[in-house]
């Protein structure tokens, strides 16, 4: 059996701004047979994206291929001329980006972008290309395949956009597809749909693929073989079965064991004293847009939410994308003054807006944002970022402050040397830990964590979770933990609340989550979590409950899009 992709001794180097050259890929060998899907897994920064991009003969700016060859369909992308590469891209190899939302040009219609490959390479007449695109939309189970192409990227949901990105890649009938973490940003219910669509398309067309991810469970559903990377080197190669069931390398083993996080150990004082609530949210209404005459904002997002957070405990908030989870956190933090309802901390009512709250109130309640990329000032070194709250709340200076910064870094398991770096020089997991350490620096009582682990690979995420747990025990912190990843919630929370369309539909102890969920949406959510089992995805079709729930959801989605377009 001939290999469609052969990577031999690939070395990629990058030049840092002090002129130092670092090798980010250190002699990788890799082959992919025709029709085979190979997964690249590994922690953040291990070089997965870099390798994937070399298949298209591309490196990000600042990087270059130092040596080696990348042969795709018998041609070496490293040795090609730029013009040859242009002809090669999109026709022989196609790329599905990590964030489809960013990869679509906001000012062009989806159809224009999907058929662009055909136009660039003059593969077929425009009308034929459009027809083909519509067929692809249908194959990828997109709603309204005939008309969805006329929309602009912001008019479709994230999951749909990810599938559209795949359609964009497939239009040129490539022989190799490169998927770069195509589902990381999606919530579990959407992820299932996308995964199924990808798998069906790859199977139907017999394409080879390279699938980059850090999520072993996802990879287990789609890949034939798994390549485990670390620090730019291949650690382990094997069939999916073999790697999942009998990992040989330490890192792989860590990955797999991290997949089943330890369930939350009950707090020691559990039964003894019924902990006093630290935060109470009473019939909270909040939203965006101008205030209407009824005293409610134009777009009401949160509808009558009641919540109670007990001291020293963690409350998980789950729900699909757009259900209002972040909005809830923003309202509590004072970023979005509520339209109605009350927020009380330690029995005292909190003012609606940040500016009306006292410094002390602000200190006690910290929020950690979802996207660590944008939550850290790109122009300040880590040390300065951490030092600021220390100075601001605790007036710490000089050596004491420096020592405290070191201690904080240590607390979140980051090397001290990192304090000289800028956020852009950190990997995703590192950024998220800095982000969290900044909240800790305030010495708060309550931390609102908004999806702080969703961008992290499981190993790192597990470490962060463990850290959270440990800090809770040591410092008696209270968390409100927002996530769409149920296993994470399971690992850290005592209770979990399910949000759906801005309302809290259900709340229960975590332990009862799997068995005791009553609301149909909660059940759908819970059963969508991928299992570390190569047959899980294929087995889903037989689950009648999930199928009907899915159908409902699709109808709801169509309706939501239609409404968005009207307004």
């Amino acid at each position: 059996m001939s290999n469609i992709v052969e990577i031999r001794n690939l070395r990629v180097k990058a030049k840092t701004d002090s002129g130092r050259v670092v090798e980010i890929i250190k002699g990788v060998d890799l082959e992919i047979a025709k029709g085979e899907v190979v997964a690249l897994i590994g922690e953040s920064g291990s070089g997965k994206t870099t390798i994937a991009l070399t298949l298209l003969g591309h490196t990000r700016s600042g990087c270059s291929i130092a040596s080696g060859s990348v042969t795709v369909d018998g041609r070496d992308t490293v040795a090609m001329s730029e013009a040859e590469r242009r002809r090669f891209r999109g026709t022989t190899v196609a790329y599905v980006p990590q964030s489809a939302a960013a990869a679509f040009n906001p000012s062009k219609t989806i159809m224009d972008q999907v058929v662009e490959v055909a136009r660039i390479h003059d593969l077929m007449p425009a009308a034929v290309a459009r027809q083909k695109a519509v067929e692809l939309f249908r194959a990828l189970v997109l709603p309204d395949p005939e008309t969805i192409g006329a929309r602009y990227p912001h008019q479709v949901s994230g999951g749909q956009l990810q599938r559209l990105a795949a359609a964009m890649a497939l239009i040129g009938d490539p022989q190799v597809m490169v998927f770069d973490e195509p589902t990381t940003a999606l919530d579990v219910t959407t992820q299932i749909e996308v995964l199924r669509a990808f798998k069906a398309v790859l199977r139907d067309r017999g394409m080879a693929g390279i699938y980059v991810s850090h999520d072993l469970a996802v990879v287990a559903q789609i890949a034939d073989r798994i390549v485990v990377l670390k620090d730019g080197e291949v650690q382990e190669v094997g069939t999916t079965e073999a790697v999942v069931n009998h990992p040989s390398h330490d890192y792989t083993r860590a990955l797999i064991s991290a997949f089943h996080p330890q369930a939350k150990s009950s707090p020691p004082s559990d039964a003894a004293a019924p902990a006093a609530p630290i935060l109470q949210v009473k019939s909270l209404m909040a939203g965006y847009g101008a205030m209407g005459q009824d005293g409610l904002p134009k777009y009401v997002v949160l509808k009558d939410v009641d919540l109670t957070l007990e001291r020293g405990r963690s409350l998980g908030i789950i729900g699909e994308s757009g259900s209002g989870k972040s909005t809830l956190a923003r309202a509590i933090a004072g970023l979005l003054p509520p339209a109605a309802g009350q927020i009380e901390m330690n029995g005292k009512a909190l003012a609606g807006g940040v500016r009306q709250r006292s410094k002390e109130e602000l200190r006690r309640l910290q929020i950690v944002f979802q996207l660590a990329d944008t939550a850290l000032n790109p122009n300040k070194p880590v040390g300065a970022i951490l030092a600021r709250p220390l100075f601001f709340y605790h007036a710490m200076r000089g050596a004491a402050r420096a020592a405290e910064v070191d201690r904080l870094l240590d607390m979140v398991r980051l090397p001290k040397a990192l304090k000289y770096r800028l956020p852009s020089e950190l990997s995703g997991g590192q950024k998220q830990r800095v982000n969290f350490a900044r909240a800790l620096a305030a010495k708060p009582d309550l931390i609102l964590c908004d999806e702080i682990t969703s961008a992290l690979d499981t190993v790192v995420a597990a470490a962060v979770l463990e850290l959270l747990d440990e800090l809770q025990r040591e410092l008696g912190l209270t968390y409100m933990f927002i996530s769409h990843d149920l296993s994470t919630v399971e690992a850290i929370c005592d209770r979990v609340a399910v949000m759906y369309e801005g309302a809290k539909v259900e709340e229960m102890p975590t332990s009862r989550m799997k068995s005791g969920a009553e609301h149909p949406y909660s059940r759908l959510l819970i059963s969508s979590v991928p299992q570390l089992d190569t047959g899980w995805l294929d087995g889903l079709d037989d689950d009648p409950l999930l199928r009907s729930a899915m159908a409902d959801r699709r109808a709801a989605e169509r309706w939501a899009v239609a409404r968005r377009q009207r307004s």
Binding site: R86, N105, K108
Partner: protein, 318 residues
């Protein structure tokens, strides 16, 4: 036009009225602060106190200035710009011909300089870091660092005095036909283009480079798009907003700021009219010119904002 644009336009026009009022008051107080008044200045060296007083009475300038200003504002509401103090002509009549000239010059300059500036800015961004890019950016800065009056004078010396290809003066109402138009406008337009292009070039380049760094442009690269396609089809539409803003700001200079060009080429436009008006303390005329500059400036900004909205579907369909 859709609802968003319509709402913006209506809102801006409302704000424009307020801005005009602010400008009117500011200009009024500014003019009041200047030494001398019309009567005194018209009489010039022969301004004895009695003569000035008599002339003031004769010109009906003996009312308090603020009262006259308020009357003028009242007239403005009904579309009457008032009468010039200096020569008792209708301000509207005085301005109309000159405004046409100014708009013509501004229009021809725009038609000439904007495409060139955009081309240079875009190509420089396309070949960022190349020799071409460097040459464009050095030339741009050199071009604006030569004073306007020098550019104009050198142009006249070369093209009118030595080569005798073009007339030294641009007398607007001699234009009959395209050939003459080119001959007459060539030098003022080149001079003005020198002044206004640099900012447009630099801002266009920056805006395009900004969008060239986005993931969707990288995606286009990975689809096999050529550099041209990446820039023209992907980066440019998204850079249109900032570019339109930079262009609008540069063009706003073309009405009130062209006094030097008007002087050297003896081109009768509104900038010189404004200067005359200031030097004779001719309040209705000063005010009217200031209103025109303000309206044009705000309109340009409005157009730029509308372009930004239209070019961005996210804003367009909000």
């Amino acid at each position: 036009m859709n609802a968003v644009v319509a709402r913006l336009v209506v809102q801006r026009l409302g704000i424009m009225l307020i801005s005009l009022l602010i400008v009117a008051f500011a200009v009024f107080f500014a003019t009041e602060m200047l030494p001398g008044d019309v009567a005194q200045i018209l009489l010039g060296q022969s301004a004895t106190p009695q003569a000035v007083a008599a002339l003031r009475t004769a010109m009906h300038l003996d009312q308090p200035a603020i009262l006259r200003f308020v009357y003028w504002l009242g007239g403005l509401v009904s579309g009457d710009l008032g009468r010039s103090y200096a020569n008792n002509m209708d301000v509207a009549a005085l301005i109309s011909g000159r405004l046409t000239n100014s708009l013509q010059l501004a229009g021809v300059t725009t038609l000439f300089s904007v495409p060139i500036a955009l081309c240079l800015g875009i190509t420089a961004a396309m070949f960022r870091g190349s020799l071409y890019d460097r040459i464009v950016s050095i030339v741009t800065v050199s071009v604006i660092s030569i004073p306007e009056f020098m550019v104009a004078t050198v142009a006249v010396l070369v093209f009118a005095v030595y080569l005798r290809w073009l007339p030294a003066l641009s007398i607007a109402d001699q234009v009959h036909g395209i050939g003459e138009l080119l001959r007459i406008y060539a030098m003022p337009v080149i001079t003005l283009s020198f002044v206004v292009s640099a900012q447009m070039i630099r801002m266009t380049r920056a805006a395009v480079i900004d969008t060239l760094n986005t993931p969707y442009v990288e995606m286009a690269l990975l689809k096999g798009a050529s550099r041209r396609r990446m820039v023209l089809s992907h980066a440019l539409p998204n850079a249109l907003g900032p570019i339109a803003n930079a262009v609008a700001l540069s063009l706003s200079y073309l009405l009130g700021g062209v006094i030097i060009v008007e002087t050297i080429f003896n081109y009768p436009g509104v900038a010189k009219l404004m200067v005359d008006a200031v030097s004779t303390r001719d309040l209705p005329l000063i005010q009217s010119c200031a209103m025109i500059f303000c309206v044009c400036y705000l309109l340009l900004i409005l157009i730029a904002d509308v372009i930004a909205i239209i070019s961005n579907p996210r804003l367009r369909n909000r």
